[in-house]
């Protein structure tokens, strides 16, 4: 277990089978809960986190001290109301905030590092389902997720159709596109090009591949924002200077901002976890899991057995997982006869809009999850 995490940890009572055919022994999942589980366990809401998120959904992060990543959405009287619902958020396997991942120790006493098996979104969800079993929750009132969290929600709905009554998927996709994979590959190559990465075996070393991880984060961060948002926030303004310096310092405000985002990220995230989780996202293609011969051909088959209600939300400026991806899922759900809602919301901030204050999103989430 990571010393960084203060969360309760669920030790799986059995080895976790993985899509690769391998099994994960001694798997642990760190999680946080908010609110009280009803006696019939019928009020549980599982919130799934995004690529670099963690279980600190609505409570302060132990490393950064910042508020939980979705405190504006989850809490007493909030759209996901912890006075009514028992809200669970767990660190996915492969991550680095207390759940088993490349940084945690293998049975031989050394960190797994690159010996950690390559995992998939479905493997993450398999871990979450084991946690739900451990908590005595047979059927979730709702599963909710944005971005990679939305992929988990879709995977749960498709693979364990009885486990959730409502499925809320925000700013997400049923498959990673070539462009999505391409951006992730830039990030992975940045990490692996850092000499300190040392084939992933850096845990005992003094230097970590922080430079590579920071560049990966910088590249990814651009994909989370919109051009208009960047222009509005930074324009071509210079940072702490009146004129160009004819050098390569972070002269533009946007450069300074990205460097800050990159270096801040390395304090709380493990480079190998970044490799594993981006790989899992790249492998994600829900239609392919259900035997479709070509992409999107029969995504409807993934939802054939579902009795859940679905809600999909996209943002008009999100070019990472654009509205067309959500619409593609909606069409498949329509074809499967599922009960589905879908709305494209307007927001200036690109993919990250789902994490920011948005009155309409609040109302949609509240109306759907209630």
């Amino acid at each position: 277990m990571s010393p960084n995490s203060t969360s309760p940890v669920f030790a799986l009572p059995h080895p976790l089978p993985l899509d690769s055919g391998q099994v994960l022994e001694g798997c642990e999942i760190a999680y946080e809960t908010y609110g009280t589980l009803a006696p019939d366990a019928g009020n549980a809401v599982l919130v799934c986190h995004a690529l670099t998120g963690d279980q600190y959904l609505a409570s302060p992060h132990p490393i950064t001290g910042k508020p939980g990543w979705w405190e504006r959405m989850v809490g007493p009287g909030k759209p996901i109301d912890t006075n009514r619902h028992f809200v669970i958020c767990a660190n996915v396997i492969g991550s680095c905030m207390g759940s088993t991942g490349p940084a945690s120790f293998a049975p031989d006493g050394a960190p797994h590092a690159m010996r950690f098996p390559v995992i998939t979104i479905r493997d993450m969800v398999r871990g979450l389902v084991a946690l739900l079993d451990g908590l005595g929750i047979a059927r979730l009132h709702a599963v909710v997720g944005g971005s990679m969290g939305g992929m988990q929600a879709l995977s749960l709905a498709a693979n364990w159709p009885d486990r959730a009554a409502r499925v809320l998927v925000i700013a997400s996709t049923a498959r990673h596109s070539a462009q999505n994979i391409a951006f992730h590959e830039v990030g992975r190559q940045a990490i692996m090009a850092d000499p300190a990465w040392a084939e992933g075996d850096y845990y005992a070393a003094e230097a970590k591949p922080d430079n590579g991880l920071a560049v990966a984060r910088m590249a990814a961060h651009i994909t989370y924002l919109s051009e208009a948002g960047l222009t509005e926030k930074f324009g071509r303004r210079l940072q702490n200077r009146d004129a160009k310096g004819f050098g390569f310092d972070a002269e533009f405000q946007v450069e300074s901002y990205l460097r800050y985002q990159g270096s801040g990220f390395t304090r709380r995230f493990d480079a190998n976890s970044y490799l594993y989780i981006t790989r899992a996202m790249d492998y994600f293609d829900l239609a392919e899991e259900f035997g479709a011969e070509e992409h999107g051909g029969k995504l409807a088959d993934a939802f054939a057995g579902s009795t859940a209600r679905f809600c999909l939300v996209s943002f008009d400026t999100d070019w990472l997982y654009p509205t067309a991806e959500s619409r593609h899922i909606v069409h498949a759900l329509n074809a499967a006869g599922a009960k589905v809602s879908f709305v494209e919301l307007s927001a200036p901030h690109g993919h990250d809009s789902f994490l920011l204050e948005h009155d309409q999103l609040n109302r949609v989430v509240k109306g759907f999850v209630e």
């Binding site: 009960k339 709305v343 109302r363």
Partner: protein
């Protein structure tokens, strides 16, 4: 909450417990009525995102979509009823929409403002300009009604499509009127079709 007269007529004639698709569902008033009063499984489609958000916020299953494009994904006869209220005249191709309605629904309800109502005729005949009336309150250059239709036009279209008119209701001054001379007297019409 009182429904618009054409919606009330539809609500009164949807069999309880039916599966219903309301195309152009607006703020979801009809869907809410069908779910609460008739125990229907109601789904909606609406183009306007703000209206969709209101529907979803009140717990209705509504998809933001364009009836001209997004009906194609629903399987044949997925619904007992497909409802198109006051939307036909805004469609790019009303004839193709009608085909889709009769494909996804076992029955269809279609309501529309009747362009042959005497007030519209009089406005055109004596005013010489595109009518702006109680039933059609928006000027020609900004109206969403791009395919004006009359009661008789619709009967012709239904016949051409091989659709049987099961029932029809006509309204003037928000009150139901009889079928005689409906093409003159009705401001709004509702048809129930099957094929």
């Amino acid at each position: 909450m009182s429904l618009r007269p054409d919606l009330a007529a539809i609500a009164a004639h949807v069999a309880p417990g039916s599966r219903v698709l309301d195309i152009g569902c607006g703020d979801g008033a009809l869907m809410a009525e069908l779910e609460s009063a008739s125990g229907c499984d109601a789904r909606g489609m609406e183009l306007d995102g703000a209206l969709v958000e209101r529907c979803v916020s009140r717990g209705l299953s509504v998809v933001q979509g364009d009836a001209n494009l997004d009906l194609a994904n629903y399987p044949d006869k997925a619904f007992d009823y497909a409802i198109l209220s006051q939307t036909l005249q805004t469609a790019t191709r009303p004839d193709l929409i009608l085909d889709e309605l009769l494909r996804v629904g076992r029955r269809a309800f279609v309501s529309f403002p009747n362009f042959a109502h005497w007030r519209t005729r009089a406005a055109l005949m004596f005013g010489g300009r595109m009518p702006v009336t109680r039933a059609l309150p928006v000027s020609w250059y900004e109206t969403q009604n791009i395919h004006h239709v009359t009661v008789e036009d619709f009967r012709d279209l239904a016949r051409m499509k091989g659709a049987a008119i099961e029932r029809a209701w006509f309204f003037a001054n928000e009150i139901e009127i009889g079928a005689p001379a409906a093409n003159w007297r009705a401001e709004f019409a509702v048809f129930e079709l099957s094929r």
